[in-house]
Every structure is written in structure tokens, then in C-alpha cells.
């Protein structure tokens, strides 16, 4: 019985026009957004606060322990929304420019590239530069570098080959993971924890003043990527099609690769590598709403944020009983089976 509901839902959606599906998705997402913000704010030790308790803690002028905890949670809610949006939109962009369903920040090795940058920054403290600056800067540089290497390898022999791209991503990703593992192994114990934290992801360590750097980069980056929504649609048909329609494919692709790498680096610099968001979220909406990036990109931004918050809620709820459950583990545990379900049921619909 449980398995029938999702297919009924998707089947029912097929009867609606794309415009009304978009409207429906926006309404459902808005509701989910409110619910997920509440849930993530409500975690209080082993128990959950009621909506009115959360409201009072935020706006009621209450300065007690509850208010302190809720306001700390607010930090992770804000960063979670932006990081989720950054990962999901970048994933959508990469799938479109590479015309490949598997392209995502995680599978192309970008997240692990950023992890390596962060690990190096943590391990070999750069003189005169505080870790708070060195870590995101190195994460960004390594992120770009990884993208460049993967792309260059996949370009060998002329055209960007889908298969080579995936293989290059997987190969570079495992190579980098191996280096990160090695660095973790040789790291002194107080730094080892920081590196491990990185590879699993966590929304707990970011401070408000760090967000002043992260949030503008993500917002501006997403806005810049959105200027290319229509060009991306044309590029999804193929590079030659896009050129015939007047799109400067090389310039647009380079622009989007640089911007998406920047956005991903900023997003993961402080919260670590969180997998599956960039892969799964755009696919879900493409399945429901079709491939038009003018809908997929903005809606994925919200979907990614909501998904991260729900996963963070689960990870914190679980952690309050079992000690710890990193958010990166939750996103993968939920994301992977759901992706397999989509793959099996609606492959032809998505177009691959």
C-alpha cells in the first residue's frame, strides 16, 4: 500500500499541465519550508519544543536557556537553507551543461576537492592567515582545480564525452579521497577531528560572522547562474543546437563552471561535504515539472534548502539518542534509495 502512494502522486501529476504543476510544487514547498524550519528549530535535547515555544523563544523577548538553544538552531537553519539551495542549483546546472544525469558536485569530485583544500588548511596552518580565511580560500581553489582536471580529462579526444566525464570524476574523486584519508591518518588527534567533521558535514560549527561571507557568495552566485536559464535549456539539446540558437556555448559553459564551483566551494567551506543534494533534488523536480530550467533552478533552490533542513532535523534527533549522526550520512541514506526508486520507475520520463 505504501508503495502505491508515490506512483499515484506522480501519475496524478501527469494529468495536470506543467504550469499548474509548478504552482502546486511551489505551494507544497512553501508548506514544507515552514514545517522544516519549525522542526529544525524545535530540537531541544531529547525532546521537541511546541511551535508556540519556538515562537516565544525567537520573538517573545525570552532570554532563558530555551531561547539560547533556539537561537543557536536558527543559525543552522539559515545556513542550511542557503547551502541546500547552492548544492541543488549547482547540481541542476551541471546536469544541464554536461547533459548528464550523474553530474553533481559530489560525483564530479568537487566536494572531495574542497575537502582536500580544507584538510590542507587545517593540517598545515598557513602563517599570518587565520584558518577561518585559509580554509574557505583553499577549499575554493581546490574545488576549481578539481573541476578543471575532470573537465580537461573528459575533453581529451575532442568532444566532452559523457562516459569519460563520469569516469574522470569518479577517478579523481577516489584519488582525492585517498589523499584526504591519508592526511586524516597522519594528522595530530586534535586536527583529525576537524578533518573528519569535514568529510561528513555538519551545520553546527558555522558562526554568524562567517555567514556574512558565505551567504552573499551563494546568493550572488545563484542569481548569476539564473541569468543563464534559457541558454541552459538550449544547451540541454546539445552544443550545436545551442550555437545555432545564438548561444555562445563556450563562454556560457565556462562562466557557469566557474560560478557553480565558487558557489559550491563557499557552501561546503564551512559545513563540509554534504552529498546527494545536488544530484537528487534537480532530478525530482525535473521528473515532476519537465526539464525547463526556468522552473527547475528556482524550485530546486527551495527544495534543496528544505531537504537539508529535514535531514538536519533527523540527524539531530537521532544524535540526541545515539550520540552522533552526521548530516552527510542522512542525506545519502535518504537520497540514494529515493534516487534508485526514480531511476527504476520513471527513467524514460526524465530522459535518460
Amino acid at each position: 500500500m505504501r508503495a502505491v502512494w508515490p506512483s499515484l502522486f506522480i501519475g496524478g501529476c501527469a494529468l495536470l499541465s506543467r504550469k499548474s504543476k509548478v504552482l502546486l510544487s511551489v505551494i507544497v514547498l512553501a508548506l514544507l519550508l515552514v514545517v522544516s524550519v519549525y522542526l529544525d528549530l524545535s530540537v531541544y535535547g531529547h525532546s521537541m519544543l511546541s511551535p508556540s515555544e519556538v515562537w516565544n523563544a525567537l520573538f517573545g523577548g525570552d532570554t532563558g536557556g530555551v531561547s539560547y538553544i533556539v537561537n543557536r538552531s536558527l543559525r543552522r537553519v539559515v545556513i542550511g537553507l542557503f547551502v541546500g539551495a547552492a548544492l541543488a542549483v549547482s547540481g541542476a546546472v551541471m546536469q544541464a551543461i554536461f547533459r548528464n544525469p550523474l553530474a553533481s558536485p559530489y560525483l564530479l569530485g568537487l566536494s572531495s576537492g574542497a575537502s582536500l583544500g580544507a584538510a590542507i588548511a587545517i593540517l598545515f596552518s598557513v602563517p599570518f592567515i587565520p584558518l577561518g580565511l585559509a580554509q574557505p580560500v583553499l577549499a575554493f581553489i581546490f574545488c576549481l582545480l578539481t573541476m578543471f582536471i575532470v573537465y580537461t580529462i573528459s575533453k581529451i579526444g575532442g568532444d566532452v564525452r559523457t562516459e569519460t566525464l563520469i569516469l574522470a570524476g569518479v577517478a579523481i574523486s577516489s584519488l582525492i579521497s585517498a589523499i584526504v584519508s591519508f592526511l586524516t591518518y597522519i594528522a595530530p588527534s586534535e586536527k583529525m577531528g576537524d578533518i573528519v567533521f569535514w568529510t561528513m558535514g555538519s551545520l553546527s560549527k558555522i558562526e554568524w560572522n562567517e555567514m556574512i561571507f558565505v551567504v552573499p557568495v551563494i546568493v550572488i552566485g545563484i542569481a548569476l547562474m539564473m541569468t543563464q536559464m534559457k541558454n541552459l535549456n538550449a544547451m540541454m539539446l546539445g552544443d550545436a543546437h545551442a550555437m545555432d540558437l545564438g548561444v555562445d556555448v563556450r563562454r556560457v559553459r565556462l562562466f557557469l563552471l566557474v560560478v557553480s564551483s565558487l558557489v559550491i566551494a563557499a557552501a561546503v567551506a564551512f559545513v563540509g561535504a554534504i552529498g546527494f543534494v545536488g544530484l537528487v533534488i534537480p532530478h525530482i523536480f525535473r521528473l515532476l515539472l519537465g526539464p525547463d530550467n526556468r522552473y527547475i533552478m528556482p524550485i530546486s533552490a527551495f527544495g534543496g534548502g528544505v531537504f537539508i533542513l529535514l535531514c538536519d532535523f533527523i540527524s539531530r534527533l537521532f544524535a540526541s539518542y545515539a550520540g552522533v549522526l552526521p548530516i552527510g550520512v542522512v542525506t545519502s541514506i535518504i537520497g540514494a534509495p529515493f534516487f534508485i526508486y526514480l531511476l527504476c520507475r520513471k527513467r524514460s520520463e526524465v530522459g535518460w
Binding site: R99, T227, Q228, M229, L237, A240, D244, V247, G351, W352
Partner: protein
């Protein structure tokens, strides 16, 4: 006839080898011209030079007296539309969404379709008879249906010039006639200049006002099919034994293929 497309001593090399050279040609408004030649003679490369998907290594291409080297990609796409050879599309765009992309060269980043755009899109879909599958996904269509959607997209580009690369390839024979009938009609009704690149002799003879025969990297002959496709020229260029004769039923020339001239082209 006013010429819309002027090609002057165009030359293109790839990896140090000339693909073609000294191509000069003027095409008039509303004219349907066929560029014929055996596989691998550089026809497709020539076509890609005409909208600067590839940059020539010599000579120039003028569209309505403007050198396309001085135009942006967007400006070129406002005047030149292309129906490419491979139309396989993996994403589930609907036919209407694909046709609407024809308006891309005329739009700002964040603008939706204007009422003018919508009217042009509808008109293109009606003319190509794709309205009936407007909401179907392109990746579930047959080759002929897909071809028509792409042609509709090209029409929605309101081009002066339409470039078609092997439009009959992979199509059923009846669909080949349907597609070329459609293109011929559009050329005459909307005064669009059509350049068809093909190795499909019978179709080119049937539908093209003028034929350009490519051989050995150059234009070998050019003119009305009757004058260009002589038995001698067809032997040299295609290595076939063939002749043109007037079809008793239509009165138009038709090609009669007898066979190959054999290995080595005797």
C-alpha cells in the same frame, strides 16, 4: 533576384588539411539551393561555416550584405536558422518548449515570451503541422516528428536563411517527401532562402532550384539541376552511371540511376 547570402572565396582547414577552398556562391531570396557531394567532401563543414559555428580560415560570408564575422552569435541566429543532422534529444522537453526556443535569439535573459513571440511560435507550429503533438515529449517522438519540430523551431526563428544538414537522413521515404514539400512551400511562402546539404541525388533534383556540385574541395559545377547533373559530372563526382530525364508524369527532371562506375571510377 536579390541575393541574401553571399559566400566569397571561403576556405576552411582542419588539422593542417584543407577541407574546402575557394568556395564562392550567391543565393537569392526564397531560393532553394542544394549542395551535393559524396560523403566526406566537407558539405557539413561548409554549412557550419555559414553561421560561424566554425570559423573559416579565409574568405567571408555575407548575410544581407553584412559580414557575419562582425556580428554577434545572437545577431547571426536572428537571421540564420539551422536544422542539424542529428536531432536526438534526451531531455523530456515538449514540442512546444522546443519550438519556443526559436525565439531565444530575440529575448533578454529574464523576459518570458511576448505576445508577438507566442503568435510566431503558434504560426510556426501550425505551418509545420506539429500542433497536434504540442505537449508530447520530444524524446518519445519518431525521427520524422522530431525533424518537423526542429523545422518548426527554425521557422520560429523568423530567419532569412535556413540551413539544413542532410534533412532526409534517417527518415522513411514518405516522410522525406513530406519534410521537403514542407520546406519548399515555406521557402516560397515566406521567402526564406534554403540551403540544403545532402548526398540524396533524387531529392535534391526534385526540390532544389539550383544545385552546387562539390568535388575535390571545390565547387565543381553550379546551376540548374538539368545543366549541372550531366552524366559526365555525375560520373566524376559520384562515380555513378546516371542521367537526368524529364519525368513524363510531372514534367520535371528526375534522376535515373543505372549503377556504379566500378572501383577506381572508370
Amino acid at each position: 533576384m536579390v541575393s541574401v547570402l553571399d559566400i566569397d572565396s571561403l576556405k576552411f582547414s582542419y588539422a593542417g588539411h584543407d577541407v574546402f577552398e575557394d568556395i564562392s556562391l550567391s543565393v537569392g531570396r526564397g531560393e532553394v539551393i542544394g549542395i551535393l557531394g559524396p560523403n566526406g567532401c566537407g558539405k557539413t563543414t561548409l554549412l557550419k561555416n555559414l553561421n560561424r559555428n566554425l570559423k573559416p580560415h579565409g574568405g567571408c560570408v555575407m548575410v544581407e550584405s553584412d559580414d557575419i564575422a562582425d556580428m554577434t552569435k545572437k545577431e547571426i541566429a536572428q537571421k540564420v536558422a539551422v536544422v542539424p543532422q542529428t536531432n536526438e534529444i534526451r531531455f523530456a522537453f515538449t514540442a512546444r518548449e522546443i519550438v519556443a526556443m526559436g525565439r531565444l535569439p530575440f529575448q533578454e535573459s529574464f523576459r518570458g515570451e511576448s505576445s508577438d513571440d507566442l503568435r510566431i511560435i503558434d504560426d510556426a507550429m501550425v505551418r509545420t503541422d506539429v500542433m497536434k503533438f504540442a505537449d508530447r515529449h520530444i524524446n518519445t517522438m519518431s525521427g520524422g516528428e522530431r525533424q518537423r519540430v526542429i523545422i518548426a523551431r527554425a521557422i520560429a526563428q523568423t530567419p532569412q536563411i535556413l540551413l539544413m544538414d542532410e534533412p532526409t537522413l534517417h527518415l522513411d521515404i514518405s516522410m522525406q517527401f513530406e519534410v521537403l514539400d514542407l520546406v519548399h512551400r515555406l521557402a516560397k511562402e515566406k521567402s526564406i532562402t534554403v540551403v540544403i546539404v545532402s548526398h540524396d541525388l533524387p531529392m535534391v533534383v526534385r526540390y532544389c532550384d539550383r544545385v552546387v556540385l562539390m568535388h575535390d574541395k571545390r565547387i565543381y559545377a553550379m546551376g540548374k539541376p538539368r545543366d549541372v547533373l550531366t552524366p559526365e559530372n555525375m560520373r566524376v563526382v559520384f562515380n555513378i552511371d546516371a542521367e537526368l530525364e524529364d519525368d513524363p508524369r510531372t514534367g520535371n527532371p528526375t534522376v535515373r540511376l543505372y549503377g556504379s562506375c566500378g572501383i577506381g571510377g572508370q
